[in-house]
Symmetry: C2
Subunit: 153 residues, 2 copies
């Protein structure tokens, strides 16, 4: 199936800068972590108006999770062995066929090509591939259903 | 800056199948559109437990929006000229440095490697690059702020 599809190559539009220098264990509390996203300066104009939104969606390349060998089909969520083994795509494990992370974060400030955000779960040096405004009517769901093991996180 | 970063190449994990054969105009109402995501059959086991979630996040490659020339730094949201010109990253325009779309959709059914979803804003044949469970505490924001022009959509 994949043979008929076009090549898909990403280019970094920026990089994450924060105090988290190496990947912490699963379950690390990222909510208080403040990061700077240093966007390529050629893209500054494209960031205009972004700070009219309180929150943004960041897509990033989880470069430390790139898997070279066989990928597990099932994982314990958050690496917790007391939780059931579930399908990889039913988890947020970074070890995925395409290690693209998606975070919804608070945009604290924009200064030129630098975005100050809170709660981004990405280590220092992570390549950023896209930034989108968070639009509740499009990005959020009222009364979404989740399995009971999610609440054990 | 980008020179020091690693190569990032995506592989399709599946493809969108629906009745929308060519890109409709901006503002098209996708909410009622039912699609099938046909995932590579080698990944069926990795889809286990996904249907314990009512909604999933789909990342996909907007192959019809790949820009070969110069990209505009500013756009009219939804292509509506009556709305202010805003920075590209403050919009959801598909014409972005990396044309990766992100949709939160209702998972109606899973049968083996086929996911039936509602509301996916991607045309027939769109390559899918990741599927994640929608987890409210992580993916949604209470009282997010948006600019007034968003409500004019």
């Amino acid at each position: 199936m994949t043979k008929e599809l076009p090549a898909m190559t990403l280019k970094a539009i920026g990089v994450v800068r924060n105090k988290v220098r190496q990947a912490p264990k699963a379950g690390y509390d990222w909510w208080g972590i403040v990061s700077e996203i240093v966007v390529d300066s050629s893209l500054s104009d494209a960031l205009a108006n972004l700070d009219e939104f309180s929150h943004i969606i960041v897509l990033y390349w989880m470069h430390e999770a790139v898997v070279t060998g066989q990928m597990p089909a099932k994982v314990h969520p958050m690496g917790k062995r007391e939780l059931p083994l579930v399908g990889l795509f039913a988890s947020r494990s970074p070890c995925r066929p395409n290690p693209v992370g998606k975070a919804t974060v608070r945009l604290m400030q924009r200064q030129g090509n630098i975005l100050k955000v809170k709660g981004l779960d990405a280590v220092d040096g992570t390549p950023v591939i896209d930034i989108k405004p968070y639009i509740p009517g499009y990005d959020s769901v009222v009364n979404a259903g989740v399995p009971p093991w999610i609440t054990k996180r």
